[in-house]
């Protein structure tokens, strides 16, 4: 574990941020490693953008530490930003500059130049760079920031809900481009609430709720924490099923099938019981990220 920690590009430890009396971030802790895409999920207002802005040195943390490339995100922001690319969720561009001018300006500010890669990205996203930013739609403004970010040679990429304005075709292009970054060994922090996107792209996930990271790990790690839905039919009646540990929501369907959900850690004992009753058919559905997400958020209601 120690060895892994030393390799982490981003290391956040008990990060806190207050705005006056309001605690926007209570306890945010997670790491991001090279060559991985880290999915940062949570609903609106949970603290995703506040965390990201703190990592960018735009906001100053009230407590805890955050380091990128081993440097303090606030004090060393300038040297960190040399190796960082960022796309905000809402991209605002100077109305009287063209998309092409803004892309070039961003590249120059990052001490790079308009390269073949830039042209390729402009082509890939099919962006008309001669138009004034005033005339761009939200999606086109996002494309400007994406083209600039993808053609920057950075080691750490931050995307804050980058596909909220993109059509499915461009979303696909975005996913492809992130995959290329991952293959090149770059680290990516992807904040999103489009769970299918996160499920498809991310190696590990952090879930944030009310300014607190409530869960981190790979999707398969997390599935252990949740329930699998099982639908079955047996020769013999399964009357004791409802008394077994970790079994929930038993429903007897009219077609003779029974559906229930089971905690992942109780799976084997439940399976043993079912097989003892002579299984006729059995179908299991793994939990989706959505189930996981809902479980964390619905448990909030009780508080």
């Amino acid at each position: 574990m120690m060895k892994q920690k030393s390799k982490a590009i981003l290391h956040i430890d008990h990060l806190q941020k207050n705005f006056g009396k309001f605690q926007a971030l209570k306890n945010v802790t997670f790491d991001v490693y090279p060559g991985e895409v880290f999915g940062f999920i949570g609903p609106n207002g949970a603290g995703k953008s506040t965390t990201i802005r703190t990592l960018l040195g735009i906001l100053r943390a009230s407590g805890g530490t955050a380091t990128l490339f081993g440097k303090d995100v606030y004090k060393d922001s300038v040297s960190i930003h040399k190796k960082l690319a960022y796309v905000p969720g809402d991209v605002y561009l100077w109305p009287n500059l063209t998309g092409g001018e803004i892309i070039d300006l961003f590249l120059k500010l990052g001490n790079t130049k308009h390269s073949k890669k830039t042209d390729e990205m402009i082509k890939r996203f099919q962006l008309d760079t001669t138009k004034k930013a005033r005339t761009y739609s939200k999606g086109n403004r996002q494309k400007v920031a994406l083209v600039a970010a993808f053609s920057t040679d950075a080691d750490f990429y931050i995307f804050d809900e980058p596909t909220s304005g993109l059509d499915p075709l461009n979303e696909e292009i975005f996913q492809k481009s992130v995959l290329e970054l991952k293959q090149a060994g770059k680290a990516v922090l992807l904040s999103s609430h489009i769970l299918s996107e996160v499920e498809k792209m991310c190696d590990r996930i952090g879930i944030i709720r009310d300014g607190e990271i409530v869960e981190t790990g790979s999707l398969s790690d997390m599935r252990h924490l949740t329930r699998t839905v099982i639908q079955f039919q047996t020769m013999e009646p399964t009357t004791e099923l409802r008394n077994l540990n970790g079994v929930h929501n038993i429903i007897l369907n009219t077609n003779g099938l029974t559906t229930f959900s089971v905690d992942s850690d109780q799976m084997s004992s439940v399976m043993d019981y079912l097989s003892s009753k002579k299984i006729v058919s059995l179908q299991s559905t793994p939990p989706t990220l959505e189930d996981l997400f809902m479980r964390y958020y619905n448990s909030n209601e009780g508080r």
Binding site: Y86, Y92, L93, E101, L109
Partner: protein, 540 residues
């Protein structure tokens, strides 16, 4: 209703009044208090006929005519005449600023920010927002006009009458509404609020200069300048309501024109469309400084050229002002032509000394605007991507500060240079540029303090950044106007301009220069510290 274009107009008017109530209350409160308190003060300053005759002599001199407009009618003048003569043009200028800012924000500004699109997606007529904004400003200008009139009734200056009081009050209200319709019309022509603001002030500036030139040479021609109509009220003399109807007529024409354009264009567009531009950035656009220059280029050029033209215009009346023989032909025989020439130059220097504060404060505005961009650009979200680049806060702060200071100083220099050029074009013995540069050098330090205050505010409490403008406006009022209404000396010491000696009549004072520069440096350093440790804002 047959025509659905105006559907829900009155609902939107009520909504706008509710939304803007604080802004409207502050503006109208300030204007009415200013107007009424000056009126109340006048009863004590100009209580004797001797003091009135004294000020009337000043007001009739070409330099004062160029600044405040022509005093109408013939003597004997009363306190009320002096009040109307001094306040009319001045209040008209403030009315223009108020109406420009509110109407452009409520029409083109709402369209820029996308709010209008949301409103129009509801069951609301296409022209409802524009008509609601016009009605809103009509109501507020009418209210201000009535309060002016009422205030004058209460102040009860010697020589007033009810007709004149309400003519002046409602006339100034009509002036305000006329400016609102001018800006509303221009906001329909161009396709963004910044251009609308720039164009409104360009038109305003041209009208001011036309008014000034005609006042000096052909007062009748002032009838052709809408700005000049305020002078034609001839308040307390002839009490002429014609200009008020002219203003309302022009307002009606402009309102109809604006509504017509609004009806015939798409949302977010103008008659003057935005053309496509470069696909690649030029080699000059490469960092924060060049970006800020690019963003403010038009503003900077407009202000610098504007001040140059203002200087030229004032300079071109030097021969009229500095002609002592006109009033006293026997003087040449008495003191000789060299002494006459010296006396003429002194009069011009006195005139320039009074003008200095106008140039100083006008030169400040673009500088403050550039420094405040660290806040406005932040709030609009434009700077968030810059903040994620390897660009230090120090560099950003330094960039706006350098650009802002250079802009203000260049604009001031342009004004001084304009004075010299304008003077040289009409005088037999032109005054040298070095004389005007005394004014330039002396005003560097107070301008730097004012910009230092702006940077301090941006560093620590950016949400009150508008205070910089208010403070500059206060300085203009106190220095330019304070002498006429006999403000106490200590009030003048509340701004750094109050410590500058009378330039270019005298040389600048190096002592003042240095302590002011040191104070400016301290403010800037404190501002830098604040900007370094505070949270930066984002659009959401």
């Amino acid at each position: 209703m047959e025509n659905r274009n105006f559907h829900q107009t009155f609902f939107l008017t009520r909504f706008s009044l509710k939304r803007d109530w604080l802004k409207l209350t502050i503006w109208s409160g300030l204007l009415v208090i200013l107007f009424a308190s000056v009126a109340a003060k006048f009863t004590t300053i100009y209580d004797s006929q001797a003091s009135i005759d004294e000020i009337v002599k000043t007001l009739k001199s070409p330099s004062m005519v160029s600044l405040f407009g022509k005093l109408p009618g013939n003597g004997p003048y009363t306190t009320a005449d002096v009040f109307a003569g001094e306040m009319t043009v001045f209040m008209a200028i403030i009315a223009a600023i108020m109406n420009f800012s509110i109407i452009i924000k409520n029409t083109r500004g709402e369209e820029d920010s996308g709010l209008l699109e949301i409103i129009q997606s509801h069951s609301v007529g296409k022209l409802s927002n524009l008509s609601a904004s016009l009605i809103e400003l009509f109501i507020i200008n009418l209210l201000i006009g009535l309060l002016y009139g009422g205030g004058l009734q209460v102040a009860n200056l010697t020589g007033t009458d009810t007709n004149g009081n309400f003519l002046l009050g409602l006339g100034l209200g009509a002036t305000g509404f006329m400016y609102a319709t001018i800006a509303a019309f221009l906001a329909q022509l161009v396709d963004n609020s910044r251009s609308a603001t720039i164009w409104s002030y360009v038109i305003f500036g041209l009208m001011y200069i036309a008014r000034m030139t005609t006042d000096i040479s052909h007062p009748k021609a002032t009838w052709f300048v809408p700005f000049g109509w305020v002078e034609k009220f001839s308040t307390y003399q002839d009490n002429d309501w014609t200009p008020v109807f002219l203003m309302l007529g022009l307002s009606l024409i402009l309102s109809i024109a604006a509504l017509w354009i609004n009806n015939h264009r798409d949302i977010g567009s103008g008659i003057i469309a935005t053309k496509p531009g470069r696909a690649r950035a030029s080699i000059f656009l490469r960092g924060p400084l060049s970006l800020f220059w690019r963003l403010h280029r038009t503003t900077i050029i407009v202000w610098v050229i504007g001040l140059l033209i203002l200087g030229l215009t004032y300079g071109s009346i030097f021969n009229t002002i500095g002609d002592i023989l006109k009033t006293n032909p026997a003087m040449k025989k008495l003191v000789g032509s060299v002494a006459v020439q010296n006396a003429n130059v002194l009069i011009i220097k006195q005139f320039v000394a009074l003008l200095m504060i106008v140039f100083g404060v006008l030169a400040l505005f673009p500088g403050i605007q550039i420094i405040n961009y660290l806040k406005t650009g932040e709030n609009k979200g434009y700077l968030e991507l810059i903040h994620s680049k390897p660009v230090s806060r120090t560099y950003l702060f330094t960039s706006v500060l350098v650009l802002g200071a250079l802009t203000s100083l260049t604009a001031l220099f342009a004004g001084m240079w304009g004075l010299q050029l304008g003077g040289a074009s009409v005088m037999k013995h032109p005054i040298e540029l070095t004389v005007f540069l005394r004014g330039f050098y002396a005003y560097i330090s107070p301008i730097m303090i004012m910009l230092g205050i702006s940077s301090f505010i941006i560093g620590w409490i950016p949400r009150i950044s508008v205070v910089s403008y208010l403070y500059a406006g206060f300085a203009l009022f106190v220095e330019y106007f304070g002498k006429l209404i006999d403000l106490s000396k200590w009030i003048s010491k509340l701004t750094p301009f109050g410590y500058i000696n009378k330039v270019p009549v005298h040389q600048m004072d190096p002592g003042t220069f240095w302590w002011q520069l040191i104070l400016a440096a301290i403010l800037i350093i404190l501002g830098y510290i604040g900007y370094h440790i505070r949270d930066l804002n984002s659009a959401n």
